[in-house]
């Protein structure tokens, strides 16, 4: 490992009553990185973010930022910018006054303050309505003001809590590109919380996937997609997410499906070449976009088409395989077989296998490091 | 916020209320068991139920208690009858008009007990507006005696305490979505049925709260009864006032106060039971 990371979060714990919101989180972030915290609702993303900002006290663990231990530091001494999900713009101050607030607190006044306010507003591309109250702005404009306010203090770390969730779909795509640009131009180190994976995968250098207060995997977007560390990550990333097909090994050449039927796949997909034990229950992750359908054949998975959803550019075909519902994503121009009784063809590459009980990867197609 | 800071913020107000409000109530109970040494103003601190015996053994005091009770009950009922249509009307007005109406309703509350009562004297007195108007229309020849009788006192109490009924009613009516009413009507219920089966049960908490406030206030009122009753309608609270401020028999005044408190607790308990019963029915 290289020199100590810019931000290092170690064994952070937080309980709400008896419930552990965070049982002990580790996270390292390099200077200049854009990191996304991705996870379903209630998994503890906001809690972690608020602990980083100093608005919540952790019960255990340590946070170091740029060589300084900030664990016990109150929020107002941390120099960490925070953009709230509802923006929290002060309703009794104008846009300019909002952006200047952090500078006032640092006793930066006069021409210098004005210049920095202008700079922050320019970074977010806001030059109109500066003497209005926040309530007189659109949602998108409010969000820019919130970011400008956090950036104006030249934060050592910028935290964004679901910054795009209050915007409409079109604006969301636009603003996430702008966010990334702003991060690069201002030379910030950013952590963004989101439960929208498209947002995380498209914007961040590294994504930490969280579930129930734990970081399951912390990796590049490519690695999360190509080499999920657990069945949960595989079943979470992708749209639609990977199918998880339960099966158990029946010798080196064949699998038993859930209904007891036997599947003898092409050699690369067999238990033997996947390097797993001859016995045992597994989940095989099948990416919908890598599946294809054909006439019944012996090495394909026997499947029954249940429904077809037209999505524009492509189609989602819902099939039943040995009692499990799977989804395949086919291009709209692909022909569907005439019969509903079809074969599901799995690409002949190393499969992603997880142990059925723990969800841990049974075999990795590629080794990844868990730290940056 | 740190627990110590929280405590320091709350402590001044809490200590004040504890010391100046709660503690006197506790001392009241003790004081009511003391007596005044006969012929003096000094206190005999041996504990005795003599004050209570004197109170319950004298028909003058019992009569005044009875007068107070029935006048309070009538006042409460009158406030309810006048308050219900007013509250429902106000809730249906749009924002600006509603604010204005509620503003009008609270005026008697913030004017205190005295000023409206002064107005009532001039309204109900022998030369007042009511008698004057009736006379000039030739409906009566000699003034109706309104002051110095329970009717005058009740009018004053209703006027003074109607806001206490209307405000909780407004709160409870506001919580009833208009949809309920429309849903019930769309199901074919007649207006009266809607009112009785849908609105009334939902308003019961407000009725119980308002009724309790009005009853308590009437039971313990003494400014309005003294002025409008002109010494001829003696309520329990005016007795207590006389004993405390004029006769300076604090132990006996305390006993009178304790009886009022006990009555209120009983009524409050009944009110809470009714409200709970209503909630279960609704």
């Amino acid at each position: 490992m290289a020199a100590t990371p810019y931000l290092s979060v170690h064994a952070i714990q937080k309980h709400y009553g008896p419930v552990a919101a965070l049982p002990g989180v580790d996270l390292d972030v390099e200077r200049g990185a854009f990191v996304a915290l991705l996870g379903p609702s209630g998994c503890g993303k906001s809690t972690l973010l608020r602990i980083l900002a100093g608005l919540l006290d952790a019960e255990g663990g340590a946070i170091r930022l740029d060589g300084q231990d900030i664990t016990g530091l109150p929020a107002w001494r941390r120099d960490i910018g925070l953009v709230f999900q509802n923006y929290a713009l002060f309703p009794h101050m104008s846009v300019r006054e909002n952006v200047r607030f952090g500078l006032d607190m640092r006793r930066i006044t006069g021409a210098e303050a004005e210049a920095r306010v202008d700079e922050a507003l320019a970074l977010v591309g806001l030059d109109k309505h500066l003497s209005r109250r926040p309530s007189e702005l659109s949602g998108g404009q409010q969000q820019r003001v919130a970011i400008a306010r956090a950036v104006a203090i030249r934060p050592r770390l910028l935290l964004l809590d679901e910054p795009l969730s209050n915007l409409d779909a079109v604006l969301r795509t636009k603003v996430r590109l702008e966010l990334r640009e702003l991060h690069d131009r201002a030379g910030l180190t950013t952590i963004m919380v989101t439960h929208d994976q498209a947002e995380a995968l498209s914007t961040a250098d590294r994504v930490a996937v969280m579930q129930a207060g734990r970081i399951l995997q912390y990796d590049t977007p490519q690695a999360l997609y190509g080499a999920p560390a657990t069945a949960f990550v595989a079943g979470f990333i992708g749209s639609p997410a990977a199918n998880l097909l339960p099966l158990s090994a029946a010798g080196p050449d064949a699998w038993l499906l859930a209904d007891g039927s036997r599947w003898t796949p092409p050699a690369t997909l067999a238990p033997g070449s996947a390097g797993v034990a001859d016995r045992g229950d597994y989940l095989m992750a099948l990416r919908p976009e890598l599946l294809s359908l054909g006439e019944r054949s012996p090495d394909g998975l026997p499947a029954t088409i249940k429904a077809v959803e037209f999505m524009g550019g492509d189609r989602l075909v819902h099939v039943d395989v040995a009692g499990c519902a799977l989804t395949a994503r086919l291009s709209a121009v692909d022909r569907l077989p005439d019969s509903r009784e079809v074969s599901l063809r799995v690409p002949e590459q190393l499969p992603l296998l997880f142990e059925a009980g723990s969800g841990a990867a049974a075999r990795r197609s590629r080794v990844t490091n868990n730290k940056i | 916020m740190k627990p110590l800071n929280t405590f320091l913020l709350i402590a001044p107000a809490a200590l004040l209320m504890l010391g100046v409000f709660l503690v006197p109530f506790l001392l009241l109970a003790v004081l009511s068991l003391w007596t005044l040494k006969p012929g003096t103003l000094s206190l005999d601190t041996s504990l005795t139920l003599a004050n209570y015996a004197r109170l319950f053994g004298d028909t003058y005091y019992l009569g005044s208690l009875w007068t107070t009770l029935w006048m309070s009950a009538v006042t409460t009922l009158a406030c309810l009858i006048l308050g219900l249509p007013l509250a429902q009307w106000i809730v249906r007005r749009a924002g600006r008009a509603r604010g204005l109406l509620i503003g009008l309703v609270i005026i008697p509350m913030v004017c205190g007990a005295l000023l409206p009562t002064l107005g009532l004297v001039n309204l109900l007195g022998p030369l007042g507006v009511v008698n004057g108007a009736l006379k000039s229309f030739g409906l009566i020849t000699s003034s109706l005696p309104l002051l110095g009788r329970p009717i005058g006192v009740i009018v004053g109490l209703v006027q003074a305490f109607l806001p206490l009924m209307v405000l909780p009613l407004i709160t409870s009516v506001e919580r009833i979505p208009l949809d309920y009413e429309q849903a019930a009507m769309s199901l074919g219920a007649r207006r009266v049925t809607v009112w009785r089966r849908v609105l009334l049960p939902l308003m019961l908490p407000g009725i119980a709260a308002g009724g309790l406030l009005v009853f308590c206030a009437s039971l313990t009122a003494f400014v309005t009864p003294q002025i409008l009753g002109q010494g001829k309608v003696v309520t329990f609270a005016s007795l207590a006032f006389q004993q405390a401020s004029r006769v300076l028999d604090w132990p006996f005044a305390s006993a009178l106060a304790m009886v009022m408190l006990a009555l209120l607790l009983v009524v409050a308990g009944l009110g809470a039971a009714v409200a709970r019963f209503a909630r279960r029915q609704a």
Binding site: G54 | T6, W89, I106, C111, L118, G119, L120, F241, A244
Partner: protein
Amino acid sequence: MKARPADLAWLITVILVLAFLLAPIAVLVFSAFDAGNIFRFPPRAYSLRWFEAAFASAEYRRSLWVSTVLAFVSTIAAVTLASLAAYGLVRGRPVYRRAVEVLLLAPLTLPLVVWAIALLSIYASIGINGTPLGLILAHITITLPLAARIMIATISQIDPTYEEAAESLGATPARVFLRVTLPLAMPGIFASSAIAFLVSFNDVVVSTFIAGASWLTFPVRVFSQLRSEGIDPTTIAIGAMIVFATLLVVAIGERLLKLSRRL
């Protein structure tokens, strides 16, 4: 919507009820302009002589001054104490929150007369009966619950993320309070001050018990005079002016602060 007979009856009922509610105050103001020594309806002549008498009377001026000072001091103390407590209760969320709320709001439901009797004997035994201190303490006690109720509601409605945002921007706790919480709580503070002032200024129930000879508030003076000598028309004129000031405060408060929605 078509006006139906039932709606019309309802409207008339409401107008009558409101008229009844406001009639005494209207009569009070009206009768102040009667020129006679005893109000009679209809008046024989109208004049402003009782208003002139009111301004000329040093005795009434003094009691009005006592009432004003008392209301002013009590209001400032009650609103300050109530605001601090409300802030602690809402933001600190202590386990004893419920209990303290019950304690602070108790005087709104418990009978003040009963309390005043108890207070009188305690005051007499520690020797502060009839003193400014005793009156001020009592008036803080009757106004604090009203202020506390308004301030608890006000602070509950301030989104705590404003305060957190300020903190993350580098504001110390004191500056968070001064720059963010206080400005946002201002409407509630004004509303509770207005209510507290009016209630304290117009109080007669509690003050009558504990007022001393040298510290007589205007309502107490009028009440005791009323029982001995009947109505002095001068007090009617002063009462009319107080009513007018009260209406003004309520109207401005309603317009700017939605006063009635905060009670």
